[in-house]
């Protein structure tokens, strides 16, 4: 019997495809992974600690920086939780604006995922195509709220800005444009035999495991569990729109890919409907006291961020600052399953699987 020696390979935190500052300590035998241990915390900024010294309005810009690919959903999570605890009703117009920006942000976030995941398995051009199209969304956001990544758009009780003149038309055009581009992506990727070879049957997770690990978003849905908080624990005005929840069957990378691609389509559909039903006139802010004193109590809300269930748990003691603020960060949960998924895989699959999970390190580390 040939004696083989195991080798400890340190992947990251500066490795090109760990999507940030994730570090993986991988024990390999040849190119086969025996054991993998994620080491996180390199981007820990203590958002939860900082929040204890900040008023609710001041927390909002900090949430932008957690999941920096979909800051709108983060904004929404904290605002929604605060509103729930305070019992504030949001004007309809604000709700529509929120839904539009959140869904657009979902598209943008999935585009980044698509590009980077493909870059991980070596395809270069889709990455730039995705960023080309994401740019259009960022421009729309820039026009709406004056920032491209860190929006700070929502406020407790509504949104900061109303839609500028012609903005909704631009969104309509964008939805058309994006639908066209989706075909291009499909052509570029779906039929590509190398891509299929790299993704089919890789990183399979059963739905029991997925549930036990608390996976959410496409990571859960690809295993066949139909669970989308927008549909199954409805919040905001999602019950007014018609959309499907795409699910996979096998729970491999390919299913994740298909799920997310369909989610883009569904998000576009929601945006389309929201623009269609957009209310004429009306306020964008509810009447809220100038100093937000949140009544004593505790609240947990979960919303469907592009990465999964983004939860916000607030414990308030009736002050203008939260007593404890905890975010259920979907990437943190999703990353936890990585060691299980990696066992016995090839090194080349490591980056593919990691890319498939779609983590944002700003969110993992809080």
């Amino acid at each position: 019997m040939l004696r083989t020696e195991e080798m400890i390979l340190n992947v990251g935190p500066q490795h090109p495809s760990t999507h940030g500052v994730l570090r993986l300590v991988v024990k390999i035998d040849g190119e086969v992974i025996q054991e993998a241990e994620p080491v996180i915390g390199y981007l820990h900024r203590g958002t939860e600690k900082l929040a204890e010294d900040l008023t609710y309005t001041q927390i909002i810009p900090y949430t932008d920086r957690m999941d920096y690919l979909s800051a709108m959903t983060n904004n929404y999570a904290i605002c929604h939780a605060t509103e729930k605890l305070m019992g504030i009703e949001i004007p309809e117009r604000a709700e529509f604006l929120r839904v539009i920006v959140m869904e657009l942000n979902r598209v943008a976030s999935h585009l980044v995922w698509l590009g980077t995941a493909l870059l991980d398995i070596g395809a270069m051009s889709p990455f730039l195509y995705c960023f080309r199209d994401r740019e259009k969304i960022l421009d729309l956001f820039n026009e709406l709220c004056g920032a491209r990544i860190t929006y700070n758009y929502m406020r407790v009780g509504g949104v900061k800005w109303d839609a500028p003149i012609g903005w909704l038309d631009k969104i309509k055009n964008f939805v058309e444009y994006m639908r066209e581009k989706m075909k291009e992506y499909h052509g570029l990727i779906m039929g590509n035999e190398i891509f299929l070879q790299r993704t089919k049957g890789i990183g399979i997770v059963s739905h029991e495991t997925a549930l036990s690990y608390g996976l959410s978003g496409a990571n859960l849905r690809c295993t066949g569990v139909k669970w989308d908080l927008r549909k199954h624990q409805p919040y905001s005005i999602y019950d007014r729109f018609k959309f499907e929840v795409p699910v996979g069957t096998r729970g491999d990378l390919y299913d994740k890919y298909v799920c997310r691609m369909q989610e883009i389509n569904e998000a576009l559909q929601i945006v389309d409907q929201a623009v269609e039903q957009f209310p004429e006139g009306g306020a964008i802010m509810a009447k809220v006291p100038r100093v937000l004193r949140v009544p004593e109590g505790e609240v947990y809300v979960g919303i469907e961020s592009p990465r999964g269930e983004l939860g916000c748990h607030i414990v308030s003691k009736g002050k203008d600052k939260p007593w404890r603020l905890k975010f259920r960060r979907p990437s943190f949960y999703n990353l936890q399953i990585l060691p299980t998924m990696l066992k016995g895989q090839n090194i080349a699959n490591l980056v593919a699987i990691l890319g498939g999970i779609d983590i944002v390190l700003g969110e993992v580390d809080g």
Binding site: L9, P16, S17, E31, L119, G122, M124, S125, R198, A348
Partner: protein, 325 residues
């Protein structure tokens, strides 16, 4: 002694350097255009001096050798990789008159010399004392060994048809019959795929898969040593593009009787076509996985290549086709 024996290779070296310089620029431009970008534009008009600037930067960079590296081998590796890459160009005839060594076993020479490079790559990977480098070097060796075989076997069809290992003779054989891309189409496909794998280009760029192995075998190399590895890579593109032009695209032969265009231009055109194809491929394809790569070579390409040999042997005996084989 003829002055050209000394001067020829020197000119050739500069030609190759010039090619490498502009191939890199061309590659970046092509990939840029494909990705809706403009590519390098800043250094020189239309970015023409971009690679020159890059090379200059590499040359004046600090030469870093990791403390734990095997210094002797570390220094030897890039040289060992580059010399065969340049040496193979000796047998390539660009036109009837422009050629250096017209040896009878030119093709064999090319194939055997070019596989020496892998030793340099493997050494570099090992001597760096870096795990990524080691993995890259290993992958490179495995890949090279696997793809050398279909590569050589796919050429056997051409050799059988031309009846010679001399590259000039092979072109002559195509001038009388058809370009070998048509009768030897199967062989051409195998050769094309195997050659891309030999060149470590996408989708077979596993040895330096940057998203997996950072930079593969040359992770620890900087400055001019790194430049040598790059040079090797692109010199091989030069060699392989020339070879594929000669073996399958009729070398300097003018198609459709368009002989008023000089043979050298024809050669360059066909040559550029292949180079462009490589860049185009790089911009489109994802990377194949190691085990799939091996499987593809042994289970896919090798039987195809052997089948091609049989096919050629049989078709050569068919009277009305034998003109083409």
């Amino acid at each position: 002694m003829d002055i050209w024996v000394i001067l020829g290779p020197v000119i050739m070296l500069f030609l190759v350097l010039g090619f490498v310089t502009y191939a890199i620029l061309f590659e970046r431009k092509v990939i840029g255009w494909i990705q809706n970008r403009v590519g390098p534009t800043q250094v020189g008009p239309w970015g023409l001096l971009q690679t020159v600037a890059d090379v200059l930067k590499l040359l004046i960079k600090e030469d870093i050798i990791p403390r734990k590296a095997d210094v002797g081998l570390f220094k030897l590796a890039p040289v060992l990789a580059f010399i065969p890459a340049f040496a193979v160009i000796a047998v390539i005839p660009f036109t009837e008159s422009i050629k250096f060594a017209d040896i009878a076993v030119g093709l064999l020479y090319y194939m055997s010399i070019s596989s020496i490079t892998i030793i340099g790559v493997l050494l570099g990977g090992w001597a760096s004392n870096n795990k990524y480098s080691l993995l890259g070097g290993m992958r490179s060796a495995a890949q090279m060994v696997s793809y050398e075989i279909p590569l050589v076997l796919s050429v056997v069809g051409v050799i059988m048809s031309a009846g010679s290992l001399n590259l000039t003779e092979i072109v002559h054989a195509q001038q009388t019959g058809a370009w070998f891309i048509f009768p030897q189409f199967l062989g051409f496909i195998v050769f094309l795929i195997a050659s891309i794998a030999e060149l470590n280009r996408t989708p077979f760029d596993l040895p330096e898969a940057e998203s997996e192995l950072v930079a593969g075998y040359h992770t620890e190399y900087t400055g001019f040593r790194f430049a040598f590895f790059m040079l090797t890579e692109y010199t091989y593109i030069f060699g392989m593009a020339s070879l594929i032009t000669i073996l399958y695209l009729g070398g300097w032969d003018a198609p459709f009787g368009l002989t008023f265009i000089p043979p050298l231009i024809w050669f360059i055109l066909k040559f550029s076509l292949f180079v462009f194809f490589l860049f185009w491929l790089r911009a489109t394809m994802p990377r194949i996985r190691g085990d799939q790569l091996m499987e593809f070579a042994w289970k896919g390409l090798l039987p195809l290549a052997i089948f091609n040999i049989f096919l050629t042997a049989i078709l050569k005996e068919v009277s009305f086709l034998s003109h083409y084989f």
